[in-house]
């Protein structure tokens, strides 16, 4: 009893330590986002956990209102990068999910596609750098550099293997009898796919899409290489938030980081029911 109690204490201490370790930087960022320049640029003893005089200056600054304390002005606001990130990540996720789900279904049900699974893994074996330069050249040729759709297309291609592999395991786990039952009752294949398979796969689709979206949303490298000015994404834009006078604009970066955290969190909460429920095809003998 005692032994298991001490073990429990140790276990919770370890969990708390890990949680603190991962939460502290996040909380620090959140706090910093609301600090005026004097506070976020402070050092040593002047550092405080809570903003002494909380302000929305950092957010105002990001969206173009010049701050009284900060004598720098941005050459562009955060609006366009946020839009770029949203468009590229959303459409990239759509491309990856549509292509990945279709391929996974075909392979899982009909064994079509031959070496596709392996070929898709190969896409992930290369470090992105190895292929991004050729892609950059192709994209330049096609006029896709610095466009949100050019970026979305690459995102879709790069994250499609994840969508494919996730969905394939889910399809493999779904018993064929469910589709056969609908087929035998006179449904067409396509109707079965739309009315039976996809609705039953909703939890799987939701969790795969979230995973793919987060991958796309947090990309830096591809955005850096394929966008130059009009459609730079949040991470790329964030890297540019510095000035020769004040150095890194940590306050603005923290504010932007906080904004960037919103979509994944909101999505996560929105589909939480599905994530928690996972894949329970409750009505089947396992």
């Amino acid at each position: 009893m005692n032994r298991s109690l001490s073990f429990e204490i140790f276990r919770y201490a370890a969990i708390l330590a890990i949680v603190a370790l991962s939460l502290v930087p996040t909380l620090w960022m959140a706090s910093m986002a609301f600090k005026p320049i004097a506070e976020w640029s402070a050092t040593g003893a002047d550092l405080t956990w809570w903003p002494k005089s909380p302000t929305l200056d950092n957010f105002r600054f990001l969206f173009g209102e010049s701050s009284s304390d900060l004598i720098v002005a941005l050459d562009r606001t955060a609006t366009q990068p946020i839009l770029a990130s949203l468009l590229a990540a959303i459409f990239g996720t759509l491309i990856a999910m549509i292509a990945g789900t279709s391929a996974a279904y075909g392979l899982s049900r009909f064994g079509s596609g031959g070496n596709l699974p392996l070929a898709l893994i190969q896409l992930r074996i290369f470090p992105p750098m190895a292929v991004m330069i050729p892609v950059m050249i192709m994209w330049a040729f096609l006029g896709l550099i610095d466009t949100w759709y050019g970026l979305a297309l690459v995102y879709g291609i790069v994250t499609m293997p994840f969508a494919f592999w996730l969905m394939k395991t889910f399809f493999d786990d779904m018993p064929r009898e469910i589709e056969d039952a609908a087929l035998v009752e006179g449904c067409s294949r396509l109707r079965v796919f739309w009315k039976i398979t996809l609705p039953m796969m909703r939890p799987a689709l939701a969790s795969s899409a979230l995973f793919v979206f987060i991958l796309n949303w947090s990309d830096y490298l591809i955005g850096l290489l394929l966008t130059t000015r009009d459609w730079v994404t949040i991470p790329v834009y964030m890297a540019s938030l510095s000035s020769s006078m004040t150095g890194q604009l940590y306050g603005a970066k923290a504010a932007l980081g906080l904004i960037a955290a919103i979509p994944p969190v909101v999505l996560g909460i929105a589909i939480q029911k599905h994530l928690v429920r996972g894949l329970t095809f409750g009505a089947l003998k396992q």
């Binding site: 018993p175 039952a181 035998v184 009752e185 006179g186 409750g282 089947l284 003998k285």
Partner: protein, 362 residues
């Protein structure tokens, strides 16, 4: 309503032969059970009838319509799966209505049929409930209803009761039989449970290792198994099968059963077909033997199994395992030596080499 004809049906998966040379005629409105252990080819046969898989050879006809290349959605069969295959994202009502909706049955008609079927299967109070989270018993009932509502000419059931509990199984056996009387479909029922096959089917088709061994009415197959597999598979416990050799003694044909001694003289029909000196398998059902003080097989009792209504004696030496079913007050204890008298009219002989029955002993 449709008859089913299977001709020289065969299926191979790569180098594995799941089924070969299956010939079976199922009459219109007949209830046939395909019975056999797992892997005997019964589900393969069923899947070919439904069109889920195509035969490697042979022919399937419904009435005189050749089914080659006809997709399963056009065969007009109903299929109930072992694992229910319920659409868990829908309500009970939507599940029942699904096929009707897919085939474009008008709404009023749809509602009427769903309500009738729900009434028939006692699902009415559950119609608005989501299918996810219902008990397995209800799910299987729903699965049967979802297929039956389409009023298919042919109703295929693939071990529909093997996941439900024993009490519910008994209820469903009656209900399925009732359902078939009501709708008069041709029913093919796959099972490894002989009780289901015996109680429900008009005819039983016993299969093993991809081969159809015997087809007949339950009683006929039970009384006159065509080979040792069927003899041992049917009945609980199955038929006693003892290896021996036919011998002529005192002018009558008997079977030398080794340590158990000589059998009683064989009947006329069996004597005629069993040549002297032939290696045979001597078979009798556990319920066809009695304890006697006179002549008979002398066997030690290894184990006394009391199952309530009956007592099963496990007897025999070495390789022999002979079972006898007696009433529950049989005065025998483990270790006793008993003498068994076997009703001569219920003795079956099988060829020890081929396993086939030697003569039809009616």
């Amino acid at each position: 309503m449709t008859s089913i004809h299977l001709e020289n049906l065969g299926k191979t998966f790569g180098s594995f032969t799941a089924l070969k040379n299956m010939n079976l005629e199922i009459a219109d409105g007949e209830f046939v059970a395909l019975l056999g252990p797992s892997g005997c080819g019964k589900s393969t046969t069923m899947n070919m009838i439904s069109g889920m898989i195509e035969p490697s050879e042979g022919e399937i006809r419904f009435g005189d319509r050749d089914m080659r290349g006809v997709p399963m959605s056009r065969r007009g069969v109903g299929f109930v799966f072992q694992n229910y295959a319920i659409f868990t994202h829908m309500t009970v009502y939507e599940n029942l209505a699904y096929g009707l909706r897919a085939t474009g049955v008008a709404k009023a008609e749809r509602e009427r049929r769903v309500n009738d079927m729900a009434e028939f299967l006692h699902l009415t109070p559950l119609l608005k409930r989501p299918a996810a989270g219902l008990s397995v018993n209800i799910l299987q009932r729903l699965a049967i209803g979802r297929s039956a509502i389409m009023e298919p000419a042919i109703f295929l059931l693939d071990e529909p009761l093997s996941n439900v509990d024993a009490a519910f199984r008994a209820v469903m056996r009656t209900e399925l039989k009732h359902l078939q009387r009501e709708f008069r479909q041709t029913m093919v029922y796959v099972t490894h449970d002989q009780l289901e096959a015996m109680t429900m089917a008009d005819r039983i088709a016993v299969m093993d290792h991809g081969k159809l061994l015997q087809v007949g009415t339950p009683i006929d197959v039970y009384n006159n198994p065509s080979n040792v597999f069927v003899a041992g598979f049917l009945g609980s416990p199955g038929m006693n099968l003892i290896k021996g050799r036919s011998v002529m003694a005192d002018g009558v044909m008997r079977v030398d059963l080794g340590e158990a001694g000589l059998s009683a003289p064989l009947g006329d029909a069996l004597s005629r077909s069993a040549r002297e000196g032939k290696a045979v398998v001597y078979g009798f059902r556990p319920e066809h033997c009695e304890l006697t003080d006179g002549d008979g097989l002398r066997l030690p009792v290894n184990f006394v199994e009391r199952i309530g209504a009956r007592t099963i004696l496990h007897m025999g030496r070495d390789g022999h395992s002979i079972k006898g079913v007696f009433d529950n007050r049989v005065p025998v204890r483990q270790g006793d030596i008993v003498t068994l008298a076997i009703d001569p009219s219920n003795i079956r002989l099988f060829d020890a080499d081929t396993g086939n029955a030697i003569a039809e002993a009616h």
